[in-house]
Symmetry: C2
Subunit: 433 residues, 2 copies
């Protein structure tokens, strides 16, 4: 364990966090008291027992929980901002699969993956859930880079054994044995960085592969991530491939990959009410990726419907279909998208408020990691210190300062990053990719 | 005239510009030859007669036309990123009008307006069309700041004499006389910076005010800008206020404010086919402001319909309803919005390609200024030099480099800015607002 022998620390500043989707807690010139990795509490006035603890005073700056990204494709990093005049399936064929196949070569991974970790650090994403590629060695490299960085992450070796180009398709048995090797090697290596099962999506996974991955999840107590209902063409394809199944969700469910262990499903643009109910019942997380859904002309996830039915929702950059690593830029895109959804729905699905998406991008997604994404007692102290002075100093509330930073700030405004009580410094970034 | 005695200059680099909406011209290691303010031509090989001219070699960098913003509210600058959980009319009442009223005080304008000019410079917006506030002295200050900066702009004192709060409503005669004063003082002061008539929008302008402004436009040969059909509530209100009129556009048209001189109408989300036809026939420009239309939950302008009917379209940041000053961020938002419009329209309105919005944000809007926004012969040499090296150096085409820069670049990648042949250096920015 890190920090075991460090004493209690006190952080002072303008504290903003969201303990629930309907609530924003703000403390002007408040205190966060941290014991090793964990928050003891937040206080307007520092209790007497902590008066002699080490104090870091951030003055007029904001202190926010670190951002959480529930969906990120590391091997698509070099492709972000490219090929975005295409829809999902041709984009996969022409841009994504060829780029991902390069990660067979560990030396290519050594060029790109340090950039990925650096970009997450730079943008204040303290926890992320990552798709690697099908390649075992590159995936291990990425796990090691995260462990070295001090950031928190789930990293998954992708499984896919059908319906994809020869240069990237896996042999089913090898896919399973390599996945197992990674689980065994990395499950106990770090508390902050963990492997995760990563069947790409139904079309590229055979039934035996899904069955065995479902069994792995139970046997090894390991989290799961995949995609669902991103694009109408994809949904139609799944229906063709599995005419026996009720719907997309029930295929994952049938094979033990839908909430049997903590599970994230990315996109959720076209899920039926029945599927949403199953997600709520099974505790499956939805990763909302508005930029990617725009960019690939998929559509807009009806986030409000998921929230109303009690599904846990977080945000995803979905790099490379999403071009923005920054979770604040995903938050504002989520608000914008929800406004269009509101109009489309005849004003029945209420737009998301900025405070709601702030919750989704911190505690909402953070729950997948445990007590992460808030400054409530016992939460991991994942924090960002934000210097928003050059965004204007007119007299506005802390809530408005948060809003303004999320809309118009960028990585230049992030002064410090902490994960589980430890300051995280700039990781190595190899020059030029 | 500037630069009258400067010799011919040659700029070398990776040149990308868009001579028409369907075409992108790229020259790897090409040359742009410039005579004083104007482009003579672009060349893959430098013609013999220019071999001895002064050459600036930008190496592997991109050279693009400067960005053009057709719609920007300078006095809302300090409010960007605030109040965006509201729709147009309450947002005006609660955030915008109170902020704009502060510009009665010239000392407040002296704090904010230098930040505006600086932000445009920083983001590579070499030409912009600006709403100031109703206040004469602040508007003159803004005109002077633009003239000092070297950037190109139309700047308009807002006219509004009804249906707005007491603290900001104008007396009709004073509105007209102050407008006339500005026209007389500034029409011949600068070739790059010009006054523009700026009736805010139909609801806040009396019929006599609109009539007289229409007459001013003709008498003084002066351009016009206003808003149209941004929000359904606004459209309904206009119908209530003018039951005698066929539609929103015909009100402006009736009073000489709809293409009688070059005219920009911002937003155009809800225009009827008849109105779009009138815009095409009258040569009225549409300023497409996708971020603002998202943020105020207005809707999505069907840009494709306007293009198909031959309307001139440009892009607008619409700061402060739009939170992004950066025109590349408006371009990518325009592509994203058009994809949702494509889905909404049953796949009849084709999504905008990135090359198309690049045209809209350069030559499309630039036409409003004359020969601006392209590197064709006789165009003003408005240019940006872009260093995109840290966005990745994998082997991609110039078109892809442009795409990637527009999606994931920012102001940090802009190395140099030129307007009408002259390099524009960082303007003074007063610290903190």
């Amino acid at each position: 364990m890190l920090n075991n022998y460090e004493p209690i620390k006190v952080y002072k500043g303008n504290i903003v966090y969201s303990p629930s989707i309907n609530r924003l807690t703000t403390l002007e010139n408040g205190y966060i008291v941290v014991n090793k990795e964990e928050v003891i509490g937040t206080y307007q006035d520092l209790p007497a027992e902590y008066q002699n603890c080490e104090l870091r005073d951030f003055g007029d700056r904001l202190i926010l929980p670190g951002f959480v990204d529930l969906h990120f494709h590391a091997p698509q990093f070099a492709n972000r901002g490219l090929g975005l005049d295409k829809e999902l399936l041709p984009w996969l064929e022409e841009y994504t699969f060829p780029e991902e196949s390069k990660f067979k070569d560990l030396s290519y991974a050594k060029k790109i993956y340090p950039q990925v970790v650096h970009a997450l650090w730079k943008n204040g994403t303290t926890r992320s859930v990552i798709f690697a590629s099908v390649h075992k060695d590159s995936t291990k490299l990425l796990l090691d880079l995260f462990i070295d960085s001090g950031l928190g992450a789930f990293v998954g070796k992708v499984n896919m054994d059908q319906n994809c180009p020869d240069f990237i398709v896996e042999d089913s048995n090898q896919s399973l044995s390599e996945t197992l090797e990674i689980i065994q090697e990395y499950s106990k290596k770090s508390t902050l960085v963990q492997p995760i099962l990563t069947p790409r999506f139904v079309p590229t996974c055979s039934i035996p592969l899904m069955e065995k991955l479902g069994a792995f999840a139970m046997d090894h107590n390991i989290h799961i991530q995949s995609h669902i209902s991103e694009n109408q063409g994809e949904v139609d394809w799944v229906k063709e491939l599995h005419p026996e199944s009720l719907d997309y969700a029930s295929i994952y469910h049938q094979y033990g990959l839908f909430g049997h262990q903590p599970t994230i499903m990315a996109h959720c643009v076209f899920n039926t009410d029945q599927e949403i109910d199953l997600m709520a019942k099974s505790g499956v997380y939805a990763a909302h990726c508005p930029h990617a859904n725009y960019n690939l002309a998929s559509g807009i996830m009806p986030v409000r419907s998921f929230l109303e039915k009690g599904v846990s929702v977080g945000l995803g950059s979905d790099v490379g279909a999403g071009h923005q690593v920054s979770i604040p830029k995903v938050m504002t895109a989520a608000v914008q998208a929800s406004k269009i959804k509101w109009l489309e729905s005849g004003k029945t699905l209420e737009p998301l408020k900025l405070s709601e998406v702030f919750y989704l991008g911190t505690k909402g997604g953070g729950k997948f990691f445990g007590k992460v994404g808030s400054f409530e007692p016992a939460y991991a102290f994942d924090a960002l210190v934000i210097d928003d002075q050059d965004l204007g100093t007119i007299d506005i509330s802390l809530t408005e300062r948060l809003e303004r930073y999320l809309y118009i700030g960028d990585d230049r405004h992030i002064l410090k990053r902490f994960v589980a009580g430890k300051e995280v410094f700039e990781p190595k970034k190899l020059p030029g990719i």
